[in-house]
């Protein structure tokens, strides 16, 4: 009875994380719908709603090879399908479009 408060807080935190994750999965599906099926390795132009900061570049660097940043778009190569889904999962990513690469 006395530990009801921690239990409720834990359930709320888990529910918030789950909601965040599920909304990201749905968003990733929408953003990549036109690109499916994804090739094993591909290059993408990832457009954000704002000019990317170091944080965003480092996050994207983990998913592939960032080769260029122009205004709100980050150009990234050697991206696997799962990494493309991870990128599209981020709510700060506006769109993911194919890019011919270099």
């Amino acid at each position: 009875m006395m530990l009801r408060q921690p239990a409720i807080a834990t359930v709320c935190v888990i529910a918030a994380i789950l909601a965040y994750w599920l909304s990201g999965v749905a968003a990733a599906g929408r953003k990549l719908a036109a690109l499916e099926p994804l090739p094993p390795r591909a290059s993408y132009a990832v457009t954000l709603a704002f000019p990317p900061e170091q944080f965003h570049q480092l996050r994207l660097q983990d998913k592939g090879r960032v080769v260029e940043v122009r205004e709100r778009t980050v150009y990234i190569m050697d991206v696997s399908p799962s990494a493309a889904h991870d990128i599209a999962h981020e709510y700060w990513v506006d769109s993911v479009t194919p890019w011919a690469g270099r």
């Binding site: 009875m1 006395m2 530990l3 009801r4 408060q5 921690p6 409720i8 807080a9 965040y20 709603a49 704002f50 900061e53 944080f55 965003h56 480092l58 996050r59 981020e90 709510y91 700060w92």
Partner: protein
Amino acid sequence: MSAAITAAPPRARPFGRRFGRGLKGLAGVLLLLGAWQASVPLVGMSSYFYPSPADVIVAFADLVRKGILPVYLADSMIRYLTGLTIGALLGVGLGVLIGLHRTASLALSPLFRFLFAIVEVAWIPIFVVWFGYGVKTIVLALIYVVFFPVLYNTLLGVRTAPQLLVNAVRSLGGSRLQVLRLVILPSALPGIITGLRVGAGFAFRGLVFAEIVAAKTGIGYLIFEGTQSQQTARTIVGMIVMGLLWLAIDQFYLRPIERATIQRWGLTVDAEQQA
């Protein structure tokens, strides 16, 4: 046997009283924010030197919109909870061992007293050399910070377990394990919880320092990086988030757990409840 050492649980505070206390707390915060906002034109400095509450709110919204704050928050909490859990488990385990075994006490006590004197701040540069920048170094620093308060409070709890009850269980044919489970651990529980609460607070401060030195993400890094990039409002957002996080952890986890253990055993009284 348990009835002899178990006190009645404290009565829950009425909702109206809790709500009134919450309102008073909120009034204090609003007063501070009002004074801060009013002081901005009087100070007359740029937002880099003296950001207003409005600047901080804008910075907060910006950090959320850009996805920075949720990731930093999650990274910090994962590190914090990992360090806290491992540090607490080690502290309780070794506290019970040292409390029960004279040989272990003789062998380990001087070493722990020596290590206790070396603050985690001194260890972090060495951890960076050994483990590099990142999670390992931060978690190790947190384990170190949590370990000692939990260890010494557990030790105190174990050593002050009522000998009468130990003898009673033994005279009834109880094994060493039963003595530990039925007497020693319940007696040590208030000490363990006190150590955990102290360690949790220390770890929170340690987290900020460790992230400043050894991380590229996290709330501590946000605090540091904000001033480095001349975005002082972000630093203040980081500080406020740290404070709010601690309030939430204390309010929703540490206090209820403490109430459910320490006060249940009738050993302490919540001073705030008396106020």
